[in-house]
């Protein structure tokens, strides 16, 4: 497909880069990730997590630490230190909003991956032996593994004592969004459909596991290089936990080998910093292996929902109510914020006059849940779309038409009461699917199913908010330098975890400065050299930093033209323009090479800095109660997904045959990066909906490695077709919106819808595992037989 773009030639005089800026170095293996940069003389640090299942123990998810025997470990040659909670200066508490997670646990472990000691050794082998020689005496405590049970009176308390015992028992946060009178509206609605839904936890499974290295420099600065999505915030989290001055901590974030939200917040940071503090100036490295990554890393929240949708008999939506239970695991992490975003999306991308959404985010002794692409929303979409299908069936309406009729458009008030001044093109996304041959030809395709195979086609409409939401300024500060050699250096200050924002920055700057793509180089985030610009998350990265960068580019252009005026003897700045590699006097075609300007100007004068603050909803509605920060959002990306599947009647296996996503992400800056986000999101969503099935029993992970936690492989995924529905977000850099997350929200509802089309059964519990599908088919056959 040829990229469609409405950006006119005048706006884009320079050629588009043919490949993204980071493609070649990554494809050839030349790119340096965090650990590649570690010095050769590093010490090795590793965490001791005694709750993990091992040869000698089935594992403990909740227990009292009665003792720790370090003698044998310290006797191992090459083991330098064994640090415990007693060695942690500061609060020993990490956490982004709520500080409730010890760096090292002293009294209690609250999930099987909790660390109680940190071993420092001279080699990987010595570290392994040291960790193996440690013995902890853990007294098992009764645990809670089900969020509903955790809310019952008398349930064991996850945070019974110490640091952060919450007032509400195991309840981390209860919040409500209420607009109008949903209860009355549902009572009066001519048609009401309801259902209960559940989605499981999900493992990020980035290629590069959590890792980094750190060193206390002679001047006392703690210098860290970490695979992190939030280098600037990390300084404060580390500083708080370890009692350090955050401004004496330097964090560098090279390209990440994947993040997806799982590196938003402390992973290795505080442990590494602690190790470095005790390493007498030597550098220390830490890398989790795959099993530790799954054991101790954050997960998507498992969620249970009870929802009701009311409509008029012509399909106009009237009311939505939803009760949501989020399992945040042992620590808060971003639990409240994840739930907030989910709740804001509970009623779907539709006009709903009356809404009632209640969320409860609950502590359990399960693995810690946190940020994951589709931040709370991927758990909501199966429900709102499931009920839209149910409503369409009840009304005998075309499900596409029902969606289009209610789809949010610019100017509408959404289900949280926010008036959408932002761009919204969901209806066009639905149109694009409806016009697609895979939709048009679905009947014939379904009829042609081979023996024992049923075919089905499903569609889902989804959206995902962008930015931090009100109450937490979503700000970025871009710095741009004309180098002494006459090319440009962008000081990227938001980490690139693979989504391509750094490449987008290079493209934006090259276009804005009218330079060849190769003339813009990138520096990856470094808290000493770049300006604080927030985390790489929330679909904000390219939008917020991109806007700041465009401002910095404009300032740079003005500056260079005026500095060049003297050299070119031009007394009218407007007579000058930037052309690739030079400033040009339009009338005479005289040129001043940028290389000359670069040498002529002082460094201070070659730098431009500009900031951008994401706009927020004005006159925010008072519909939200209980949220700490982040309510409500103003900007959303929209998408409609189509799935064609085959269901095997003999095995219950679902094969995804064709998949199309139509995405409204505003204007498209780089078509291949845009498509990669849509495709990657859909692939990850298909894994979430079909194969992965992250599971625990009594808090212990059953899918603890990649032979049991089953990411889809190339054979399990069809080619995913990405269509761009280009709108224009007037506040966005060159009209774009963030598209990193919305793609994940589509597959679960689209596949469930296709499955219903194929089998007549709607599954509301995910994943759509063969087991569930086969049982549903059997049940249905039984029913059909009884009827016959």
């Amino acid at each position: 497909m040829s990229p469609k773009s409405r950006v006119s030639a005048a706006q884009r005089p320079c050629p588009q880069p043919s490949v993204r800026a980071d493609a070649l170095s990554k494809a050839t293996g030349a790119e340096r990730y965090a650990l590649d940069l570690a010095p050769a003389d590093c010490l090795f640090a590793g965490a001791f997590r005694p709750g993990a299942p091992s040869g000698s123990s089935p594992g403990i998810a909740h227990g009292r630490v009665r003792g720790l025997d370090t003698a044998a470990a310290l006797a191992e040659p090459g083991v330098l230190r064994v640090l415990t909670a007693a060695d942690v200066p500061g609060t020993n508490l990490q956490g982004i909003v709520h500080k409730d997670q010890p760096v090292l646990c002293g009294e209690v472990i609250r999930h099987a991956g909790d660390p109680v000691a940190l071993v420092l050794a001279v080699s990987a082998e010595a570290l392994r032996r040291g960790l193996a020689a440690l013995r902890a005496d853990i007294e098992p405590l009764p645990g809670v593994f089900d969020p509903a049970a955790a809310l019952k009176k008398g349930a064991p308390l996850v945070h019974a004592q110490g640091h952060a015992a919450p007032k509400g028992g195991n309840l981390l946060l209860r919040a409500v969004i209420e607009k109008g009178d949903a209860r009355k509206a549902l009572r009066d609605a001519p048609v009401v459909v309801r259902g209960e839904f559940s989605t499981p936890a999900q493992e990020h499974a980035f290629l590069e596991t959590q890792c980094g290295f750190a060193q206390v420099l002679p001047d006392g600065v703690l210098d860290m290089t970490v695979s992190t999505q939030a280098p600037f915030r990390d300084r404060f989290e580390i500083g708080h936990a370890l009692g350090l001055d955050p401004f004496r901590i330097r964090v560098r974030a090279p390209y990440l080998g994947g993040g997806f939200g799982g590196k938003d917040g402390a992973t290795v940071q505080c442990l590494l910093a602690l190790a470095a503090l005790k390493a007498e100036g030597r550098p220390v490295r830490m890398a989790w292996d795959r099993e530790e990554s799954i054991l101790a890393g954050y997960k998507r929240h498992a969620v249970r929902l009870r929802c009701e949708l009311g409509a008029d008999s012509d399909g106009t939506l009237l009311a939505y109510s939803c009760r949501a239970l989020y399992d945040t695991g042992a620590y808060a992490h971003l639990g409240g914020e994840v739930m907030e975003l989910g709740m804001e999306h509970a009623a779907g991308p539709y006009r709903v006059p009356h809404t009632f959404v209640e969320g409860r985010c609950v502590y359990t002794n399960n693995p810690v849940a946190g940020a994951f692409r589709g931040f709370g929303v991927a758990q909501m979409s199966p429900a709102f779309e499931g009920l839209m299908d149910a409503l369409a069936a009840r009304l005998g309406m075309d499900p596409q038409a029902l969606r289009r009729k209610n789809a949010l458009r610019t100017g509408d008030t959404n289900s949280s009461g926010v008036t959408l001044t932002s761009s919204a093109h969901l209806a066009e996304c639905l149109d694009a699917l409806e016009a697609h041959p895979l939709w048009a030809g679905r009947e014939a395709w379904r009829e042609a199913a081979p023996p024992f195979i049923r075919r089905g086609v499903g569609v889902a409409a989804v959206f995902n908010g962008m930015g931090y939401g009100r109450g937490l300024p979503d700000m970025a500060i871009a710095k741009l330098e004309l180098t002494g050699e006459g090319d440009f250096l962008v000081y990227s200050a938001v980490a690139d975890m693979g989504q391509g924002n750094a490449a987008a920055f290079a493209t934006l700057a090259a276009q804005e400065l009218n330079q060849q793509p190769g003339a813009v180089r990138l520096l990856q985030p470094d808290t000493e050299r770049c300006h604080p610009s927030g985390s790489s998350s929330a679909g904000r990265t390219t939008y917020t930093f991109g806007n700041a960068l465009l401002k910095a580019c404009a300032a740079m252009r003005d500056k260079l033209l005026s500095r060049a005026a003297l050299f070119l003897l031009a007394d009218d700045i407007a007579a000058l323009e930037l052309v690739p590699g030079a400033v040009r006097h339009k009338a005479t075609d005289r040129m001043l090479p940028l290389a000359v300007l670069g040498r002529a100007l002082e460094r201070d004068d070659r730098v431009c800095v500009a900031e951008f603050l994401m706009p927020v909803a004005q006159d925010p509605p008072d519909t939200g109660r209980g949220f700490v920060i982040g309510f409500p959002h103003l900007f959303f990306a929209y998408a409609a997904h189509l799935a064609r599947i085959e269901v095997d009647e003999l095995t219950g296996r679902v094969r995804v045959c064709d998949y199309v996503c139509a995405t409204d992400g505003g204007r498209v800056l780089d078509r291949s990066c845009f498509d990669q986000q849509a495709q990657g999101g859909a692939a990850q969503g298909i894994g979430f909906a079909l194969t992965e099935d992250f599971s625990t029993r009594q808090g212990l992970i059953l899918t603890g490695d990649l032979s049991t936690c089953l990411m889809p492989t190339a054979l399990d995924l069809p080619d995913i077709l990405s269509l761009a529905v280009e709108g224009d977000e007037p506040t966005g850099p060159r009209g774009l919106k963030g598209v990193g997350e919305v793609g994940l929200n589509g597959p679960a509802p689209a596949l469930a819808s296709a499955l219903e089309d194929a089998t007549g059964v709607r599954l509301r519990d995910f994943p759509l595992a063969p087991e569930r599908v086969l049982a549903a088919l059997k049940q249905r056959q039984g029913r059909a037989r009884r009827k016959a």
């Binding site: 392994r128 193996a132 081979p450 023996p451 024992f452 009647e649 003999l650 095995t651 219950g652 296996r653 094969r655 194969t691 099935d693 599971s695 059953l702 899918t703 032979s707 049991t708 089953l710 889809p712 492989t713 190339a714 054979l715 399990d716 595992a769 063969p770 087991e771 086969l774 059997k778």
Partner: protein, 279 residues
């Protein structure tokens, strides 16, 4: 870790006499297992990589038996014209085994000696009536595969002994061969249930013999003579298969694990037979 590279059979047999020696073929099972063992560094591994006699495919006994070298890789076998033409069910099993890199490293001998109930080549080799050729310092012997497999991870392999070849009788071209593996995904998936079937029919399409073997539903590869008997004399129709399926489902006693429940395995054990109707 000590790794020996014998270059011929006498050197191999001698190397296997080293204390604690273990055979390393493709290493795709062995190295995974050693990773979990802290004393792995002390092991002596005997690589089959340089022993040419253990590789290759040859026709024996005027065209009725295929002799497969034990160290032949899955990819080599999958590409072999005789395997594809005459042993399609083995080819089907190999095609779903692991992933391209695993098939490039992993060997038939390794799959057999691992003796996993989910080993993909085992059900086809059993219904085909494969015989194994084993060699040690005291000579060679041969053993039916069925007698070699003793239980999960347990075989009749003696210390100092190597599996050198697998002899597979070639079914006549008219026999129907079928293999299907059900995993949780389409590559790198351990079988949840697998079925190998070899069905011969006589005049008028009546079944004269049916050999069935299931993987991953029992501690070893599971056979069900009652289901086989139920097919003999009938045509390969859905109703005949349904009765065999009911027998198989009622007799099998699988376990539940992280991949699937016992109930699911029981249903699919029978269901997979029905696919034969669509061939």
């Amino acid at each position: 870790m000590n790794v020996l590279f014998p270059r011929n059979m006498p050197q191999l047999v001698k190397a296997l006499g080293e204390p604690g020696a273990r055979i390393l073929a493709g290493g795709t099972d062995l190295l995974v297992r050693l990773r979990a063992q802290p004393d792995a560094k002390l092991a002596t591994l005997v690589s089959l990589d340089r022993v040419a006699a253990l590789r290759g495919v040859a026709l024996e006994k005027p065209g009725t038996v295929l002799r497969i070298g034990a160290a032949s890789t899955h990819a080599e076998l999958l590409a072999h014209p005789l395997v594809r033409a005459r042993l399609p069910m083995l080819a089907q099993a190999l095609a779903t085994l692991g992933s391209p890199p695993i098939r490039n490293m992993g060997t038939l001998g390794g799959n057999i000696c691992t003796a996993s109930p989910a080993g993909d080549t085992l059900p086809p080799l059993l219904v085909l009536g494969a015989e194994l050729e084993l060699a040690s310092a005291s000579g060679t012997r041969s053993l039916p595969l069925a007698d070699f497999l003793l239980g999960p991870g347990r075989t009749a392999l003696q210390p100092g002994e190597a599996l050198t070849a697998v002899r597979v009788p070639l079914p006549e071209p008219s026999a129907r061969q079928h293999f299907e593996k059900v995993g949780r995904r389409d590559a790198l998936a351990v079988a949840v249930v697998s079925l190998a079937a070899l069905v011969r029919t006589g005049g008028k399409g009546a079944i004269t013999s049916a050999s069935l073997a299931w993987g991953a539903v029992a501690p070893g590869i599971w056979r069900c003579p009652e289901a086989e008997a139920a097919l003999v004399g009938r045509k390969l129709t859905l109703s005949a298969l349904n009765s065999a399926a009911r027998i198989a489902s009622s007799r099998v006693q699988p376990i539940s694990d992280v991949r699937a429940s016992a109930d699911y395995r029981r249903s699919v054990t029978g269901n997979l037979l029905l696919r034969l109707a669509a061939l």
